[in-house]
């Protein structure tokens, strides 16, 4: 079976005109997406991450047919998005974190009714899908509220439902949890997991919030300055970034820096001390050694901060992507 999404040396070059001096204008080429190749199988859930201006939204815009690529090849479900935009539109759902597809002045319900007719969704299927979304995203009380009166989190949930009413095969989410409170975030993540598991919907998620990725995606694609710098599992990314795990030790009383083999002292604050462990190393022997030598009150292990890991990946100019993608 061919891959569901195929990017082959995909490129997008913008010409930027900049005011240089009073009258002169400078033309400069910006390679927003600079030869990205990767594939996504049907039913995968992929986190697409990178710093601001890395080319994330440009890629999503090409995938959805908003922008025409300047080079390379792109297929989604065998369709070229640039030439067959409206045909593909029926099979995909898009949620732009900052821009709503909902009708500002009208109740949420009216926006959904319009979606039903624009996408020609069969009434029975529409009822089922709407009910499901309303149920899982907790929209029941909001259906008759004009969209402008919804909070950001409520509106985002409303937008996600709107993108799923027509049973899209693929769902693109651009920063879906930006600005949401903790409860809304959890709700949105849980819902996305369900949709992916039950419907086999392929999900591509661009985000700044790495917790989204950690909780949802088995696979991460990291890009920087338009180029792919990592493609693989989260664990692999951690190892690749060479991040260290942190052991937080609460001693019974204040003490000089502890010394145990296999760990390095980082800092202390009163009775609490921070130790660093190399990524991938087991914490058990260190904990055992600590317990033997010091009076311990409490202890916890922190995984390397993924943001830090990614920063390190960027700094090192990328790592060779593992050839075998997870799953």
């Amino acid at each position: 079976m061919p891959d569901f999404i195929e990017l082959d040396r995909l490129e997008k070059v913008f010409t930027v005109r900049r005011r240089a001096g009073r009258l002169r204008r400078e033309r400069r080429e910006v390679r927003a997406v600079d030869g990205i190749s990767c594939t996504v199988a049907r039913g995968e859930m992929v986190g697409y991450i990178g710093p601001n201006g890395a080319g994330k939204s440009t890629t999503v815009k090409m995938l959805t047919g908003i922008l025409t690529p300047s080079g390379g090849r792109l297929r989604v479900a065998g369709i070229d998005p640039a030439t067959d935009r409206t045909r593909l539109a029926r099979r995909m759902g898009v949620v732009f974190g900052q821009r709503t597809t909902l009708w500002w002045d009208l109740p949420l319900r009216d926006s959904y009714a319009l979606m039903r007719r624009l996408y020609r969704i069969e009434p029975a299927r529409y009822r089922v899908n709407l009910e499901r979304c309303v149920d899982l995203l907790d929209l029941g009380a909001l259906l008759d509220v004009p969209v402008r009166q919804l909070s950001l989190g409520q509106r985002m949930r409303g937008d996600i439902a709107a993108a799923l009413l027509h049973d899209p095969e693929v769902l693109y989410l651009d920063e879906p949890t930006i600005g949401l409170d903790v409860v809304s975030k959890a709700k949105v993540r849980g819902f996305l997991r369900d949709v992916n598991a039950e419907r086999g919907t392929t999900v591509l998620l661009t985000t700044h919030d790495l917790t989204d990725v950690e909780q949802l995606c088995d696979r991460v694609v990291v890009i920087d300055r338009g180029r792919l710098v990592y493609d693989g599992g989260l664990a692999g990314l951690r190892a690749a970034g060479g991040g260290e795990r942190t052991l937080v030790v609460d001693l019974a009383r204040e003490a000089p820096p502890v010394e145990v083999p296999g760990a390095r002292f980082v800092r202390s604050e009163g009775p609490r001390q921070w130790l660093a462990l190399p990524a991938g190393a087991s914490a058990a022997p260190v904990v055992a050694a600590l317990a033997a030598r010091y009076p311990l009150a409490d202890l916890s292990v922190r995984e390397p901060d993924i943001e830090e890991v990614i920063a390190r990946v960027y700094a090192s100019g990328g790592v060779p992507a593992p050839t075998a993608a997870p799953r």
């Binding site: 913008f14 010409t15 440009t58 815009k61 959805t64 047919g65 908003i66 922008l67 025409t68 300047s70 640039a82 935009r85 409206t86 045909r87 539109a89 029926r90 995909m92 898009v94 732009f96 900052q98 821009r99 709503t100 597809t101 009708w103 002045d105 009208l106 009216d110 319009l114 007719r117 624009l118 996408y119």
Partner: protein, 268 residues
Amino acid sequence: MVDGLRAYALITGMWVRSTLAYRASFAMTVVANFAVTALDFVAIMIMFGHVDALGGFAMAEVAFLYGTTSAAFGLADLLLGSMNGVGQRVRDGTLDVLLVRPVPVFLQVAADRFALRRLGRVSQALLVLGWSLVQLDAASWSAGQWLMVPMMVLSGTAIYGALYAGGAAFQFWAQDAAEVQNSFTYGGNTLLQYPPTVFGAELVRGVTFVVPLAFVNWVPALRVLGRDDPLGLPGWVDFASPAVALVCCAGAGLAWRAGLRGYRSTGS
């Protein structure tokens, strides 16, 4: 295309339903719109309180010009007036939301914020047109003269509509230039309310050959009113409005496509 028109009907229907939900408020705005768009005709009436003829045209003849152009402009404004907002959508990026829907963007933009209150201008214009027909003793007109009236209004609607669409296409390049469009739409409507004899020959030539506003009413109306054409064009030109309208629409369609293509390649 059929899909697009269906989407246009769906989206405008949505806006109409939401306005009609507040009937009293809606009725008030339509009435107010009707009254207030009539003010520019009141200005013409005041002028004729001081003079008997303007550029050699009597009040009833000017009313005929006013009625035909305003009806056409009002209809185009009702149907496509919202396209003026496309620059704003490009600027804030909300155009992308329309681009991922399975219906043509053009009609989505046209249907956006459809405002039924704009019927106020149309009805006011038709009233003035009716009054002028009575004053001009249109009962004695030939069938040909009569036929030219709806021809003017419909062709005019298409010409103004093409200007709205063309102006919207222009906004893909210059997002802040929405006001230039007003020069041609509102400006054109103001221009065509007065007889061509009032204006300089260059201006008349310009709106005949460059931006063919003259075909909304001037050229055909002069024939209906039995007046001489100041440019001395051949007689068949008086019936050319539908053809001119068609060319305008085709041009606007091409401009829109080019604009959208440009947007999709630059993502400005």
